[in-house]
């Protein structure tokens, strides 16, 4: 039994890894084999075969903890005694919570829109050009860099040093300002602009995601449609607006939704770059602080629930899109 739990040599680790994948394939194969006796098995059993492992995993790993979080949000800092809505009152009356909420909304609106627009424009511009591989790799790079790497990268962009003899700029942006004769700025200090400078980092990371997914969708537009449009005299911007964008609309919705969800949860950027100071904090950062730094489980849970609530508009929008697409089909 121990062999399957503790692996300490490289060979053993790889063996265990292949065993895990093999085990998974066997189990899934058995389930699918069982539901594949055609005709006599009712549809819901087949659906269950396809969905059961997923539902099991999600219930265990996300639904249960999610429900527990909702429960905890009505309990005190140790989850021991019921406190009603106190945590929510505390969250909303917390100093500067208006600003935190406002920042979160700004993030959730700006990041998905900007990242998607940039990713889309870029995907269209480089589509089927000779430099496509290279061009895509360049935009993709930020996605591949770990968060610690990203925070240092942007330190060297925003860092401030005064403009005085004997002191060199180490932040690129301020160096550019100094070169054109403008005094260096404290990009991360002055609200509300500092929130936008942090948002730039997230856009920089997410544009690669948007570009990759949208590029795959663009390539899926049948050549015939493109050709027909061309014969109708469509070029450039017209083609983009009337053929490309409508054709990849579902992919656009998916990308915007995904990035928005990710943005709601992101806190590392704020945490590492300003620590939430200078009016830059977001709900996710407050959630992390309360849960893990201050260890007020109840308040942390309440902030997580506020995140759940913030996502409702997105869910509603997607439900409507789902209905629309069902109707078309």
């Amino acid at each position: 039994m121990d062999w399957f739990i503790n692996a300490d040599t490289t060979v053993h680790k790889f063996a265990l890894m292949f065993f895990a994948i093999f085990l998974f394939v066997v189990v899934m194969g058995l389930i699918l084999f069982a539901v594949d006796r055609p005709k006599r098995i009712p549809t819901w059993v087949v659906a269950l075969g396809f969905l059961a492992p997923t539902i099991l995993g999600l219930t265990f790993g996300l639904v249960y903890p999610g429900l527990r979080t909702i429960r905890d949000s009505f309990y005190d800092r140790l989850g021991a005694s019921f406190v009603g809505l106190d945590n929510y009152v505390a969250a909303f009356t917390e100093e500067q919570f208006q600003i935190v909420l406002r920042n979160t909304v700004i993030w959730v609106i700006t990041v998905p829109i900007m990242a998607t627009i940039i990713g889309l424009v870029y995907a269209v511009l480089v589509d089927r050009t000779r430099a496509e591989y290279l061009a895509k790799t360049l935009i993709f790079l930020p996605m591949a860099i770990s968060m610690v790497g990203a925070s240092i990268i942007w330190k060297f962009v925003y860092e401030y040093k005064p403009d005085q003899p004997g002191v060199n700029q180490t932040g690129l942006l301020n160096q550019l300002l100094v070169w054109v004769g403008i005094p260096p700025q404290q990009f991360l200090l002055n609200a509300p602009a500092n929130t936008f400078f942090l948002i730039v980092v997230m856009i920089w990371i997410q544009a690669g995601f948007a570009m990759t997914v949208l590029s795959a969708a663009i390539k899926a537009i049948p050549d015939d449609i493109v050709e027909a449009a061309r014969l109708d005299g469509l070029h450039g911007v017209g083609m983009f607006r009337f053929i490309t964008v409508p054709s990849i609309r579902p992919a656009l919705i998916v990308v915007v939704t995904t990035i928005a969800m990710g943005t709601l949860k992101v806190f590392d950027i704020v945490r590492t770059m300003t620590g939430g100071n200078f009016g830059t904090s977001v709900v996710a950062n407050e959630f992390y602080n309360q849960s893990f730094t201050i260890r007020n489980q109840g308040l942390g849970a309440a902030l997580a629930v506020i995140l759940f609530v913030l996502v409702i508009p997105l869910v509603v929008y997607n439900v409507r899109q789902l209905r629309l697409s069902e109707e078309i089909r």
């Binding site: 790799t137 240092i152 050709e227 998916v254």
Partner: protein, 313 residues
């Protein structure tokens, strides 16, 4: 630029697939593409501008990773030409500065990542297929529920999951990380793959059904081959998230060098009080090698086009 007729815009893509009865040659496709696309200097200008804006910060870190600490702190990386003084010290420290062989972390990262990519994608493909093509009661409600689970922050799941793993005697093993990553990836994977799955023309699935194929057969024979680009794109993202993950690894694997991936080592590079943060620059580039290889290797899948040439129903 001509204003198009409204009719053209309203035609859903699926219906017009059959219109063209001949396959376009490669040259023709190029020609179509070339006509309205990058031909304008403005378009190339914008593309190049975006590429530069996106690359310069990373390039700066790349240069920085070869500079000695005192210079990193006292002058910008763009002055590299004025005061050259490149060094491999940072890389040396990252690779050989720990009592644990760097390769151990590297192996752990690979062992952690592969199952954590394969398992959720397989599960999500099956689930997405069920949501897209199997008619059962409550399908949409369930789909929305799964999709909405994306918003649950991983942090709230740590204590309940770890508690279960401890009870099962799995804590500190690879299984906990594989299982956790697989679960966390599912909502987004299902959401993305479902979207691609739905794009496949219903006629294809119908045709197979008429031929007497069951769902399992349709899934493997008809849909899976068409989804290669979608699978490739999600695979690369899932790969990145797992490869760069620190939280799950820290919580479930502990820092035990038997299981801890690269990120755990890189996160501690900066030292107890953060005084060697400059080493992170070299660490970031060492850890990016593998994701980059994977991206380049998978790229040809997404360039081929989602349904290129195969839709001739």
């Amino acid at each position: 630029m001509t204003i198009p007729t409204g009719k053209l815009v309203d035609v859903p893509p699926e219906d017009s697939v059959g219109v063209g009865n001949r396959r376009l040659t490669r040259v023709e496709k190029r020609a179509i593409a070339a006509k309205g696309k990058l031909s304008s200097p403005w378009a190339s200008g914008i593309a190049i501008l975006i590429a530069i804006l996106w690359t310069v910060p990373t390039f700066g870190l790349f240069i920085t990773s070869f500079r000695p600490q005192s210079e990193i702190q006292s002058s910008g990386w763009w002055t590299i030409l004025a005061n050259p003084g490149l060094t491999l010290d940072n890389y040396e420290e990252v690779l050989f500065g720990s009592s644990t062989n760097f390769a151990t972390y590297f192996v752990n990262s690979i062992v952690v990542t592969l199952p954590a990519v394969v398992i959720p994608i397989s599960l999500a493909l099956l689930a997405a297929y069920a949501f897209a093509w199997i008619d059962f009661k409550g399908r949409n409600i369930l789909f929305v529920a799964v999709f909405a689970l994306q918003v649950i922050p991983i942090q709230v799941t740590l204590i309940p999951l770890l508690t279960s793993y401890v009870q099962w005697g799995l804590s500190g093993s690879f299984w906990t990380i594989w299982l956790s990553h697989s679960i966390f990836a599912l909502p987004l994977a299902i959401f993305l793959l479902h979207n691609f799955m739905k794009e496949i023309p219903a006629s294809l699935v119908e045709a197979a059904r008429v031929d007497g194929a069951g769902h399992v057969k349709i899934f493997f024979r008809v849909l899976l081959p068409l989804l290669a680009p979608a699978i490739a794109s999600f695979a690369i993202f899932q790969f990145l998230w797992v490869w760069n993950d620190l939280l799950v690894a820290l919580t479930f694997a502990g820092g035990s060098t038997n299981v801890a991936p690269l990120t755990v080592r890189i996160a501690e590079l900066s030292g107890t009080r953060g005084s060697s943060w400059y080493l992170l620059s070299a660490g970031a580039f060492i850890s990016i090698i593998v994701p980059l290889v994977v991206f380049l290797a998978l790229q040809r899948y997404f360039v081929r086009g989602l349904l290129a040439g195969s839709v001739k129903g």
